[in-house]
């Protein structure tokens, strides 16, 4: 059962010499071979690479043990992880879930992958995603849809659905995803795992294939809060190659666990519940589970009060102007000239038309058109500029609310995992799946989803915890305390 380990448990056993990284990696690979035919979390598997990295980790552990420096060994040494396929790994195919990059092998790798490699982590493979991270179910992947391990007829959420499902089904110990409007938190909620959307600028975007540059952020998906804290700590930090990354020290995210532990509980922590986040139409079990979670945190000593985020209903329209506008430029580089799909044609323009016509899926084309329109002469002021102004109001909503409270608690998604195919023909209904998550990306602040219950169908429900810029540690403190008082994270599905 090595594959079911958390990072912190495996790390302890690796240091104790009770397991080897090679055994651990082999066990996780076996788990993938056993369940991924049903779950379909991975787009690309790297068994040889992973086993070689595991052997190197075993050598590093042995050397550290001999030198008496085990304590200095990075905690991720020998830990098998999965990477969302919008993050580049040198020498490995990076498809972004798109046909246009089907054959593209990245010659350089993302800053986060450099950090993981430096920490001795093992990379198992690349996980499925909605094409260019545009979607909430992985149904927009050009390759296949990932299935929710809790119920294979359901979506895992998206766009980091491959990573969330892989963590949920024990096909990795933890994974990296990316979150532009909820793409880490929503699949974390739908798969019953922990997912963090760090503050914009906390994690380098260098090597993250851009969807919407001012909103994208890489974040961890993990089996529990401790693991999420470990992985966030490993990838966070300033990177001169990303001019939007911020040069602030990275706190000891795991260390804050102790602040919320034991008798001290959540005393002194102020939790706000935004009235706009319990809108009519949301699944009653989701509201019930989230309100119960807030009550439990109050019992743990937190002071709970209602807060207001008045511009909440504008977040979705604003997001669907700004994100597609940026995407329309970010995706212009896929022109069939330097890499990826290149459809033969007699002229440059015919080549663009064919390559992009054949290479992009419907949702990507929809967003490129939306964004191109929003930026066009005569429409810029009414759409893009207005959206940026409203974005400022949304940001101010959070700033104001977070003057009175430390953490905002609300649902991650209005429903639990929906059926595969249920929303594919109704983009607007699909967009509403992210209605509670995308305002954070617009505000640039941080948020997390963690399990807080199950609905009658046995599908997990996500609790979203939100804090101000660079206050990840505050969220983690609340999350640790809540997790210690509950057992939701210990429940496991039995896929396949």
């Amino acid at each position: 059962m090595l594959h079911s380990f958390t990072i912190h448990r495996a790390a302890a056993l690796l240091r104790a010499g009770e397991i080897s990284a090679t055994e651990l990696t082999a066990a996780v690979l076996d788990r993938i071979y056993a369940v991924d035919n049903a779950v379909k979390a991975y787009l690309t598997l790297l068994p040889e690479v992973a086993l070689a990295q595991a052997a190197a980790a075993d050598a590093a552990i042995a050397a550290a043990r001999a030198a008496g420096t085990l304590a200095d060994l990075p905690i991720l040494t020998g830990i098998p992880l999965a990477i969302k396929d919008v993050i580049t790994v040198a020498g490995v195919r990076t498809t972004c879930g798109s046909k246009i990059l089907e054959s593209y092998i990245a010659p350089y790798q993302a800053a986060v992958v450099d950090r993981l490699a430096a920490a001795g982590a093992v990379i198992l493979g690349k996980t499925n995603t909605d094409e260019f991270a545009m979607g909430s179910s992985t149904e927009n992947s050009a390759y296949f849809t990932t299935h929710n391990p809790w119920n294979l007829d359901r979506v895992p959420g998206g766009s980091s659905g491959g990573s969330a499902a892989a963590v949920c089904a024990d096909e990795c110990l933890a994974a990296l995803g990316s979150d532009t409007g909820g793409s880490v938190r929503q699949p974390a909620a739908l798969c019953g795992v922990v997912g963090i959307k760090p503050t914009y600028g906390r994690v380098s975007r260098y090597g993250l294939v851009a969807y919407a540059s001012s909103l994208d952020q890489i974040g961890p998906l993990a089996k529990d809060v401790t693991d999420a804290a470990i992985l966030l700590g490993a990838v966070a930090g300033y990177d001169p190659r990303d001019s939007t990354s911020v040069d602030l020290p990275v706190p000891d995210y795991v260390g804050v666990r102790d602040q919320g532990a034991g008798d001290r509980g959540l005393h002194g922590l102020r939790i706000g519940v935004p009235r706009e986040y319990f809108a009519p139409g949301m699944q009653a079990e989701v509201e019930g589970a989230v309100r119960a979670a807030v009550e439990l945190m109050a019992e743990l000593g937190a002071e709970v009060r209602e807060v207001s985020l008045p511009h909440t209903d504008l977040a979705l329209p604003v997001y669907y102007i700004i994100a597609p506008a940026e995407a329309s430029a970010n995706l212009a580089r896929y022109d069939g000239i330097r890499y990826g799909l290149s459809a033969p044609a007699d002229s440059l323009w015919e080549g663009y038309r064919r390559t992009r016509g054949q290479g992009f899926g419907a949702e990507v084309k929809r967003r490129i058109m939306l964004g191109t329109y929003a930026l066009s002469a005569g429409y810029y002021d009414a759409y893009y500029l207005k959206a940026q102004q409203v974005r400022t109001l949304i940001k101010q909503d959070f700033e104001l609310a977070l003057q009175d409270v430390d953490v905002i608690a609300c649902p991650t998604s209005p429903t639990t995992a929906f059926r595969i195919g249920e929303k594919v023909d109704d983009p607007l209904s699909m967009y509403l799946s992210d209605v509670f998550t995308l305002s954070l990306n617009l505000a640039g602040i941080c948020g997390m989803s963690m399990p807080c219950g199950f609905d009658a169908a046995g599908l997990p429900i996500g609790l979203q915890l939100i804090a101000g810029a660079f206050a990840e540690a505050t969220i983690l403190r609340a999350a640790f305390a809540y997790e210690q008082a509950t057992a939701w994270h210990k429940q496991k599905p039995a896929p396949g």
Partner: protein, 498 residues
């Protein structure tokens, strides 16, 4: 016939002389490099890469802005200019739109007043609307039915300088470009070499009947790759527009390209098909705050500009403004001139001391003799191997009467060729001037004996022959005779024997 006024505005792109490209670490010095060797994931626009601003390019932009009397922005914003082309790897160019680094400047150019005979130069102020920083595109190489993409140039820093519609003739446009090139070169921010594509020009041209307040319909002319192309295309376009109006037709707003081979402008794009670049702020680059202290530090490093240098030469050295204009046209020449003047005034040894050699003489030697040698060899001042001190030594030898001017020219030829010292060449070539009256008297007597007819003619009143005889004596001394001594001896000989 109606008289027309020409209205021209110029957009100039100048590549900045930085070590690396605008947003990545690739070398910006791609000249003569094999295609696609100065590239990396960033300038090839691979998925996932991000730009990082080149600080040196920003400094050079601010420096240019200060020299162009611009207001420097306190906060500058990069923007994406979206369009598809094979030489533009990202599908957008990172440029600047609403908040450029430099705005509202001006420079003065020598403009010729429209006059019939002798055009008199007069300073004219040309407004600079803005100067902003962007990245260059790659290059397409057309090979038969195929086009090949070379991305060595993609991402090289490019400074775009836009004028107000202040230029009133192709000559003024030419003068503006010349002055702009001179300033950019003085600053060392760009080679501003049009023939090598380091400086490129686009023009907006319109004409209107004199006295009419509104501008006429403007036509954009692109592909101006030389000073000659700028002048010729503008002359052509102005004439074309006037001919249209004279024929009762309208000028249509279009983008034209200059067809150098056929000497005419050709329509490239109509207004209806013009691109919508969908500019928006570059989300990968936060607004760049330009600290006042940074601008001040750059301003403090600003070199003396041509106008100031020229004014100083006139004021301090008493030189003629016309002569100064030649000296300051190239910063390196001006510096060389000043170095020679300085060496003349502060000789390394007393041997080189020059009393009467004023800056005027130094200027004459440089713009006359040195330029003659440089032109003949086809080299610039940078290739001249005569040090300012060596030049000063040569002038000191003339001043001391050791050699005459003719010999000095010959010595300079040798110095230019080999970089050797004047005194060595004088000794080796036997150029030292002969001032010995006894020796020269013999030569004079010899010449008078050889040309009795001419001597008789002179004595009969044909005084013009004095100069000719003088020349014969100098020739007999192989140019080394001291002209003053020769003149005196000849005069005495001719008049005594009369």
């Amino acid at each position: 016939m109606t008289h027309y006024e020409t209205i021209i505005g110029l957009e100039v792109h100048a590549q900045l002389l930085t070590e690396s490209k605008m947003f990545c670490g690739c070398s910006a010095d791609y000249a003569d490099a094999a295609p696609n060797t100065h590239v990396c994931p960033v300038c090839m626009a691979l998925p996932g890469v991000l730009p990082v601003i080149n600080r040196a390019a920003v400094e050079k932009t601010i420096m240019a802005g200060l020299a162009l009397n611009c207001t420097i922005a306190e906060e500058a914003v990069f923007a994406r200019k979206n369009y598809h082309y094979a030489d533009l790897p990202k599908g957008y160019q990172i440029s600047q739109y609403e908040l450029p680094f430099c705005r509202d400047g001006w420079i003065e150019v020598e403009a010729k007043v429209e006059a019939e005979v002798e055009a008199e130069a007069e300073a004219k102020r040309v407004g600079i609307t803005r100067a902003h920083l962007e990245e260059d595109t790659g290059k397409l190489v057309h090979a038969g039915a195929h086009s090949l993409v070379d991305l060595n140039r993609a991402g090289v820093p490019l400074l775009e300088i836009v004028t107000e519609p202040d230029l009133r003739s192709p000559e003024e446009a030419h003068a503006y470009l010349t002055r702009l090139q001179q300033i950019l070169r003085y600053l060392g921010v760009s080679s501003a070499d049009m023939e090598r594509g380091a400086m490129r020009c686009e023009a907006n041209v319109s004409v209107r009947p004199v006295g009419v307040g509104e501008f006429g319909t403007k036509v954009e002319v692109k592909n101006l790759n030389s000073f000659k192309a700028v002048r010729q295309s503008l002359e052509y376009e102005v004439a074309r527009q006037i001919a249209l109006l004279e024929a009762g037709e309208r000028v249509v707003q279009v983008t034209m390209g200059w067809d150098e081979a056929n000497g005419r402008t050709v329509v490239q794009r109509t207004k209806e098909s013009s691109a919508d670049y969908r500019y928006f702020p570059e989300p990968d680059l936060p607004p760049l705050v330009v600290e006042r202290a940074w601008v001040d530090a750059i301003a403090a490093r600003l070199p003396e500009l041509p106008d100031a240098k020229a004014a100083r030469f006139v004021a301090e050295m008493g030189l003629d403004p016309r002569e100064v204009a030649v000296l300051v046209a190239d910063r390196a020449v001006a510096n060389y001139f000043e170095a020679v003047v300085s060496a003349v005034r502060n000789p390394v040894s007393s041997r080189n001391r020059v009393s009467k050699y004023a800056p005027k003489t130094v200027a004459n030697w440089i713009t006359g003799e040195l330029f003659r040698l440089m032109n003949a060899a086809g080299v610039g001042i940078d290739a001249v191997q005569i040090t300012p001190a060596a030049f000063a030594e040569l002038l000191a030898l003339v001043d001391a009467g050791t050699i005459n001017v003719n010999s000095a020219r010959r010595a300079l030829d040798g110095m230019f060729e080999s970089g050797r010292r004047a005194s060595d060449l004088v000794a080796e070539l036997g150029l030292a001037q002969v001032s010995d009256a006894e020796a020269l008297a013999g030569v004079v007597a010899e010449v008078l004996n050889r040309y009795p007819a001419e001597v008789a003619s002179y004595r009969d009143g044909n005084e013009k022959l004095f100069g000719w005889l003088m020349g014969q004596v100098m020739r007999a001394t192989r140019g080394k005779g001291n002209p003053a001594v020769v003149r005196e001896l000849l005069d005495r000989a001719l008049n005594v024997q009369r």
